[in-house]
Symmetry: C2
Subunit: 196 residues, 2 copies
């Protein structure tokens, strides 16, 4: 089925061009026009893949979800359980320029999604993904005896998820108050609390 393969290859080409623009100029600079220029396509050819800014952001979010999933799948989670799950959570957080750009896509989509089903759908997938990782972390801690008996796993997963999103926002919008090392320390302290 050469046509489908072709379509997939082209989507990857666009995703790479889009990511170069986002990394270099910020997510605000990613438009059909700028991505077409980056990929060496005509804007009208690109509009075959997404015609609105919301669809473009949804496409970027899809790309981010793929990246994060690939990183999580290939990371080596050896070592003490609490360190391992912190490292897992840090794959979702703006710890460096790459992950910062990913978080910016999420934050931008969060406010732009309203009313657009494609964008809303990818925002939901991204948020559900983070929620799942938070639930997995709490589940692993429980299995390893690192979740105190009086704590409800679902409740703690929801609190952890909220903390993760809040930390991401602080790194993005108040970087002076939340350097990555501080975020990492806050996360470690939070995980430690769950054991008591």
């Amino acid at each position: 089925m050469p046509k489908i393969v072709d379509h997939q290859v082209r989507r990857e080409e666009i995703a790479e061009a889009l990511w170069r623009v986002v990394r270099r100029d910020g997510v605000g600079a990613a438009t059909v026009r700028s991505i077409a220029a980056e990929a060496g396509w005509s804007p009208s050819a690109l509009r075959h893949y997404f015609s609105t800014q919301a669809e473009l952001l949804a496409f970027a979010m899809e790309h981010v979800v793929t990246r994060v999933r690939a990183r999580i799948e290939t990371t080596d989670f050896q070592g003490p359980v609490r360190v391992a799950v912190r490292r897992l959570l840090e794959e979702l957080l703006p710890m460096d320029a790459e992950r910062r750009a990913e978080a910016e896509v999420w934050l931008r989509l969060t406010t732009r999604a309203q009313g657009d089903p494609t964008a809303t759908d990818w925002l939901r997938r991204a948020n559900d993904g983070t929620g799942e990782v938070a639930a997995i972390v709490v589940g692993v801690l429980a299995a390893e005896g690192e979740l105190a008996g009086h704590r409800d796993p679902g409740f703690e997963a929801a609190r952890l998820h909220a903390l993760i999103d809040g930390l991401a926002i602080h790194v993005l919008t108040r970087p002076e108050s939340m350097p990555p090392e501080r975020m990492s320390a806050l996360l470690a302290a939070h995980l430690e609390d769950l054991a008591t």
Copy 2:
């Protein structure tokens, strides 16, 4: 100085019209045109007060900060300290339609502020305000013996601030996963943890 009084009265008139639009149609519907129509002004007269969407959002945020401050100043914080500080924090959170509209302004400004000094300034004031409330809460808990001795107040204020912003985002974007009562319960559990 009648001119200054006049200017102030007009700003309040605009703020009220803006708030009616935000409450009725959402923050996305608040444009120079829609607010002018609501206030019975001409769009050009309104552009004397704000000419860009970012300035309009900054103006809305200024209004939200004033509202929250007034509520906090007039609230009665009698009762057990932990309940009182939770109530204080809930004044910042989307617990009902009014506060939800306020939080929407904040979230919208968070992604739109980039590059616009007026908008960035009001976003910073709003965020610093939340950070201050978080610091006050931790300070009150410490003074009342409700902050465990091993806990650093600045560190806990930063964690609480991140949790507040994360919870606000979840109520706004995943309301099915975070009804106000659940947010309130998560906040209560978090404050309880600080004592141990």
